[in-house]
């Protein structure tokens, strides 16, 4: 059942993104940015955790999950360190994802050939 919920909630979050792209012509960069910020807000309001409890990967894999992770990191860091935690928690929790994207991005760019995609289209 958890896989069904993961599929439904994850699919729904992506479908909303697609509707936004088709109807508003928001660029992918703005969609990604909006999703992360929306995740921070939903996480801050405590509205995202129930979705994670229900859908697991369906809620954590979309970028709103990344945003809620930032909010969670900040909350824990403030609990532990006070006001300076507001400047620590976001990167603490985002560290693995951002570092992985940078490192694997670099590796992929070094290993694979570039350019064919732009020429194709």
């Amino acid at each position: 059942m958890e896989y069904v919920w993961a599929f439904l909630i994850g699919g729904l979050l992506c479908a909303i993104g697609q509707v936004l792209i088709d109807l508003t012509k928001l660029t992918p960069a703005r969609i990604l940015t909006s999703y992360v910020v929306a995740g921070v807000v939903l996480g801050a309001l405590g509205l995202y955790q129930p979705l994670i409890d229900l859908a697991g990967g369906g809620a954590t894999v979309p970028l709103t999950g990344f945003g809620s992770l930032l909010a969670k990191g900040v909350r824990e860091a403030v609990d532990e360190n006070g006001i300076v935690g507001a400047f620590m928690g976001g990167f603490t929790n985002a560290a693995a994802g951002i570092a992985a994207a940078i490192f694997f991005g670099l590796l992929a760019a070094l290993i694979f050939k570039s350019g064919s995609k732009i020429n194709e289209s």
């Binding site: 697609q18 369906g58 976001g90 992985a100 994207a101 694997f104 670099l106 590796l107 992929a108 350019g115």
Partner: protein
């Protein structure tokens, strides 16, 4: 935003085929949902290997980002994205793709200002606004805890 409009346009084209909503939305739903199911499988796999929930989630993200980088390098991710639209954009694999894809494309402009800088064309704004939003939340949260005597 002006500098990157062209690059954004390139991505818009790739991520949003100009077809009708009744076609694009179900595709985004199915493929996006599918990526999330893969994530759920990985979560359970790492939990099965004995990791706690937090570390399992972290390794799931790292694995998905690795797979996305691999598929982007093999030119498969963008091929799927042409049909999936937001289905491949919204999951964390889309974030990874937005890092890897310009890194590859701009490698020819040099390793520092090409690959190194262009890597953040989309990830940059995502991090800027995501982190800033989290800091604002942190300050508000701190004020609330102070008033509550926490």
């Amino acid at each position: 935003m002006n500098i990157s409009n062209q690059e954004y346009g390139e991505l818009v084209k790739r991520h949003s085929p100009p077809s009708a909503l009744y076609k694009t939305v179900p595709m985004a739903f199915v493929i996006g949902g599918g990526i999330c199911v893969i994530g759920e499988c990985l979560l359970n796999l790492f939990a099965y290997l004995g990791l706690d929930q937090e570390h399992a989630a972290m390794w799931t993200s790292i694995s998905l980002i690795f797979l996305s980088a691999l598929f982007t390098g093999l030119k498969l991710y963008d091929r799927i994205a042409q049909h999936a639209g937001a289905g491949t954009l919204v999951p964390i694999t889309g974030f990874a793709n937005s890092v890897v894809s310009p890194a590859l494309d701009f490698k020819s402009e040099g390793f520092v200002l090409g690959l190194g800088a262009k890597m953040f064309v989309i990830a940059g704004p995502v991090i800027v606004y995501g982190i800033s939003a989290s800091i604002i939340y942190g300050i508000i949260y701190y004020i609330i805890t102070v008033f509550q005597g926490g």
